[in-house]
């Protein structure tokens, strides 16, 4: 991980696209983060409004506050109510073959947004970024991009409304023109201030941010949005991506474009607890989409950090500490039934339900999720990836 001397204030938590760490090995303070970044809290009124506008129950991530912050979501919803649609933009940095559940979260939510609002979606695979930051070869990062595309497609995106592209394939033409327009508006000092680059960082890194910025502008995709320069963009992402889009929103009005809106999520906790780090080198820190039912059972039973007490007697007396309990947190993300979750929290918190039972329920939920994903993944062929990634018109994208 990069050390960012000029950027890191020792006592503070660090949240940027390449590093996320809490203060003193504690938990991430999301209120402080919202404050520092300057975005807004997503409150219940938004959730209700989304439900009204889409005539369907809001996604579990909205109900549970997983997507908890936003920028200009109200403008998107206002425009939508007037009949002005928008498009979605999200992405992935393909740095490894194995995706874990945390990686899937923005995609699961984006699929819901696509279905609920009936809008098109562009998905950016930043193979160039990973080639630069992780020192992968160009070919390897392109290969990983394609492999990751399969897992992304397995999340259930509608091919008639979705364009997936990799930077190495797509950068050029109108996209590149926008990149230059953006680059001209951001000084070197500014980009150092936002991302913490140092004199030792190579120029590839310094010039990368515009690549992630310009998919927010419809003119970057002339084959999709030609003539629709006014189209707004909504970006679902994890909150660590906020710096890219702060920069983008700063530049947008200066080059005559709408500012993209954002809807941001919490970080997905590692199995060993909030303070632990999910890392590709520790397979026990996360549940992977390639895990078998046995793996999942093992990982949850052996490695999930719980808030249960040390002995059954103590547990019955004091109840579980829901603040740090990972199975409860994971159920918060993935158990659809609100009533059941409330019941579990109540019983477990009071000590009437044991950790083993909570873990058992979690294992069921996760196994079904992973199983469904794997079945969908098996149906994704190379030809399907080619079709999703082809520069082609999407005539029914707003239907």
């Amino acid at each position: 991980m990069e050390k960012k001397e000029g950027y890191l204030q020792e006592e503070e938590q660090v949240v940027n696209p390449w590093e996320v760490s809490a203060k003193d090995g504690g938990k991430i303070d999301y209120d402080k983060l919202i404050d520092k970044f300057g975005c807004q809290r997503l409150d219940q009124s938004f959730v209700d409004r989304v439900q009204r506008l889409t005539s369907r129950p809001p996604h579990v991530f909205l109900r549970r506050g997983v997507f908890f912050a936003h920028r200009d979501l109200n403008e998107i919803l206002d425009a939508y109510e007037r009949g002005d649609k928008f498009y979605l933009y999200t992405g992935r940095g393909p740095s490894s073959e194995a995706l874990h559940l945390g990686h899937l979260i923005p995609f699961m939510f984006t699929k819901y947004l696509q279905d609920a609002f009936k809008v098109p979606l562009v998905i950016q695979l930043t193979d160039d970024e990973k080639c630069m930051w992780k020192n992968l070869s160009v070919e390897e990062s392109q290969r990983l991009a394609r492999e990751n595309a399969k897992d992304i497609i397995a999340c259930g995106f509608d091919i008639s409304k979705t364009f997936i592209f990799s930077d190495f394939d797509y950068v050029g033409g109108a996209f590149y023109k926008n990149m230059v327009k953006v680059a001209k508006c951001v000084t070197y000092n500014k980009v150092v201030g936002i991302f913490g680059f140092t004199g030792e960082d190579h120029i590839g890194k310094v010039s990368f941010p515009p690549v992630q910025a310009v998919p927010s502008f419809p003119s970057s995709f002339p084959h999709l949005f030609s003539g629709k320069d006014d189209l707004r963009c909504l970006i679902p992402c994890a909150i660590d991506q906020d710096p890219y889009f702060r920069m983008t929103r700063d530049v947008a009005p200066r080059i005559g474009y709408h500012k993209p809106a954002l809807i941001e999520s919490l970080f997905f906790p590692a199995l060993q607890g909030e303070t632990g780090k999910m890392s590709a080198s520790d397979p026990n820190s996360a549940i992977y989409v390639t895990d078998s039912a046995k793996d999942i059972k093992n990982k949850v039973n052996k490695h999930a950090f719980t808030g249960g007490q040390e002995s059954i007697e103590k547990h019955r007396q004091y109840g579980a500490n829901l603040e740090v309990d990972i199975p409860i947190k994971y159920l918060n993300f993935f158990l659809e039934d609100d009533a059941e979750l409330e019941h579990i929290k109540k019983e477990y918190g009071a000590g009437r339900m044991l950790t083993g039972e909570v873990k058992k329920r979690l294992i069921e939920v996760l196994t079904e999720l992973v199983e469904r994903h794997r079945r969908a993944r098996a149906a994704v062929t190379d030809e399907m990836v080619d079709a999703f990634m082809a520069v082609r018109p999407l005539p029914n994208m707003f239907d």
Binding site: D115, I159, A293, E368, A376, A378, A379, E383
Partner: protein
């Protein structure tokens, strides 16, 4: 059988690829081939059909005098030191659908070879013309690298050339430079032992009481078109390139889900509880629980059908004016 020599030659002519053909008695080696076409102004090629430990296959097509070191190649592909060996003879016929001694880049035209990786010697580019067998060893055809490229592109293959003699270091900080050539899917033949895909085994045991779980069936639900194993030998050799959007299978999946849920909803208890209203209650629950699940299945079906159309659309031959 797969593509025949004649079909290939017709195809080359249709694509307006310039080539010369020479018939000769059947040859099994480069030396034998040299006797007949060695002086015809084209470079001879040697073609290796290789396999790695994970049942992935490769065609290495090189100039006759290019040195090909399997150990080096294996490392450059990221397969470790002894990962590559010559593929067994049966696989030549099964996968490439060509006779012995006839390995050729053109073999990738066959659907059975769709997951075979093709490595072409960059030396081909420096020669005016090179010789290959056109799917049969009683003939050799010579064409230039451009012609070969055009053919490969026409069947959806990306022609890329490699310096086969290079020996770059491979280590922690130097990733294997040819890793991109490793096929993403292995080709498993019917008579070889194979691992059953785990998705078909792991759901059986989770009988969840919760209504929301639609995966609760004793019946194993097959994935919608599993291409991972080239298992069926079709009768006439012309297999679809990828699983077709199969309406029958799709409907079966929907019905499986619905009937599983139905069975779990109707029990002695629920009959007692709802009596005559059970029908309405169950119908309601089914809609609530199955909606998302069925939508997911339908999306997979839609995407598969779209892909079929896309592939066909990008490969059709425009009307001749």
């Amino acid at each position: 059988m797969g593509y025949s020599k004649d079909q290939l030659l017709v195809r080359l002519k249709e694509l307006q690829i310039d080539f010369s053909q020479y018939e000769h008695p059947v040859v099994l080696t480069v030396e034998a081939q040299a006797k007949y076409v060695g002086n015809m102004g084209g470079a001879l090629s040697k073609n290796l059909f290789l396999k790695d430990k994970k049942n992935r296959y490769y065609i290495v097509s090189a100039l006759g005098d290019t040195k090909v070191d399997l150990k080096v190649l294996s490392q450059r592909l990221g397969l470790g030191k002894g990962g590559l060996r010559m593929a067994p003879e049966e696989t030549l016929v099964e996968i490439l659908q060509v006779p012995l001694g006839c390995v050729t880049p053109f073999a990738v035209v066959n659907e059975s070879a769709r997951h075979v990786s093709l490595l072409l010697d960059q030396g081909f580019r420096t020669h005016e013309r090179c010789f290959f067998h056109p799917l049969s060893n009683d003939m050799s055809i010579s064409l230039d690298a451009c012609g070969l490229d055009n053919f490969l592109k026409s069947i959806g293959r990306d022609p890329s050339y490699v310096d086969l003699e290079a020996n770059p270091p491979v280590g922690k900080d130097q990733p294997p430079d040819l890793a991109a050539y490793v096929p993403s899917v292995s080709t498993v033949l019917p008579d070889l032992p194979e691992k059953a895909p785990s998705s078909q085994n792991s759901i059986g045991n989770h009988v969840s009481a919760a209504i929301n779980s639609a995966a609760v069936t004793a019946k194993v639900v097959k994935p919608a078109g599993n291409v991972q194993n080239v298992k069926e030998k079709s009768v006439n050799g012309v297999r679809p390139l990828f699983p077709a959007a199969d309406v029958g299978k799709f409907v079966e999946q929907l019905l499986d889900r619905a009937s599983a849920l139905l069975l779990s909803e109707i029990s002695e208890d629920s009959i007692k509880q709802h009596g005559g209203q059970l029908g309405a209650e169950v119908a309601n629950n089914i809609k609530k629980c199955l909606r998302e699940d069925l939508k997911n299945l339908a999306t997979i079906f839609k995407n598969t059908a779209y892909t079929e159309g896309f592939y066909t659309g990008t490969h059709y031959q425009p009307k001749r004016l």
